[in-house]
């Protein structure tokens, strides 16, 4: 029996989270690469899969999402560089095995918990700001 099989048997919930992570990224890619109007269903799927993840798992999806969104923005978009920088900063500070470490060690989670919360707080603030600015820009253009 391989270690991978043992892991699968030991924690089916982890497997579900990994599937949700992949589905969230696929859903976002689908939004970003659609030509023409993006179907509402695509946004809904992205939101559902992202919301199903525990915060400590979703942080890496945020990193991926920010970089992917930045890469699809036009050169002059005022949010492009900020998103790229945030995505890279998360990737630099959160190791790819962060979720596994957290799940295997409750103390590790407790050590990181408030830092993680603070990061989400900042992300929420920035995203709210970006949303408002982008809305204003759209109104001006229209």
């Amino acid at each position: 029996m391989t270690s991978e099989t043992l892991r699968e048997l030991a924690n089916p919930i982890t497997n579900r989270y990994e599937i949700d992570e992949k589905n969230a990224i696929i859903a976002l890619q689908s939004i970003l690469t659609t030509r023409g109007p993006v179907p509402e269903e695509n946004y809904r799927r992205f939101q559902i899969y992202l919301s199903r993840l525990p915060p400590y798992r979703s942080i890496l999806v945020y990193s991926h999402a920010m970089k992917a969104i930045a890469s699809r923005m036009e050169e002059g978009d005022p949010h492009r560089d900020a998103l790229k920088t945030m995505g890279q900063a998360i990737a630099e500070h959160v190791s790819p095995d962060f979720a596994e470490k957290i799940e295997e060690n409750p103390e590790a989670y407790e050590d990181q918990r408030m830092l993680l919360a603070e990061n989400f707080n900042q992300i929420a603030t920035f995203m709210g700001q970006f949303r408002d600015e982008a809305t204003q820009r759209e109104c001006k253009d229209a």
Binding site: N11, P12, I13, T14, L28, I31, L32, T34, G36, V38, Y43, F46, Q47, I48, L50, S51, R52, P54, P55, Y56, S58, Y62, A65, I69, R72, M73, H79, E103, E104, P106, Y109, E110, R113, M114, L116, A117, E118, F120, N121, I123, A124, F126, M127, G128, F130, R131, A134, T135, E138
Partner: protein, 144 residues
């Protein structure tokens, strides 16, 4: 062309919810290695109580089912308890509570007939559970 306003809104809303969950889930650490968010639990609702105190229900659920509750913030559990109050009105003595993170998981069967009551505390059909949880947090757990 993707709607970046929409994407920022999704990312921001879930980040806000994740911030709240992460700050509030100290209770869950004890069960980190065992249940991990799976399974349902049952609680007994006094038959003569139509609207039990959500906090009491949550406390009782923790006492009896700690291992099943990992992965859910107390905000979510309070929301669960609020939904439980509605079930209590139906004079359900033992109510099975399952967890739903998305609308797809919701079971709308009669909880008494099905023996299973999966809920989302949604106020209207277009709202996500994320938004509703935030609203319950504001109503029931003021932090200011």
């Amino acid at each position: 062309m993707p709607d970046f306003v929409r994407i920022f809104d999704i990312l921001g809303t879930i980040a806000e919810r994740n911030d709240a969950i992460t700050r509030q889930q100290e209770f869950a650490l004890q069960a980190l290695t065992s249940g991990f968010g799976q399974g349902a639990f049952s609680i007994t609702v006094p038959a003569n109580v139509n609207t039990p105190d959500p906090k009491q229900i949550v406390a009782k659920a923790f006492q009896e089912n700690t291992n099943d509750l990992y992965g859910y913030s107390d905000t979510e559990l309070v929301a669960i308890a609020v939904a439980k109050s509605d079930a209590a009105k139906a004079e359900t003595k033992v109510v099975h509570v399952d967890f739903a993170r998305t609308r797809d998981d919701v079971v709308t069967d009669d909880p008494v007939k099905s023996g299973r009551h999966v809920f989302l505390p949604l106020s209207d059909s277009n709202e996500s559970n994320v938004i509703s949880f935030a609203r319950y947090r504001e109503q029931l757990m003021p932090t200011g």
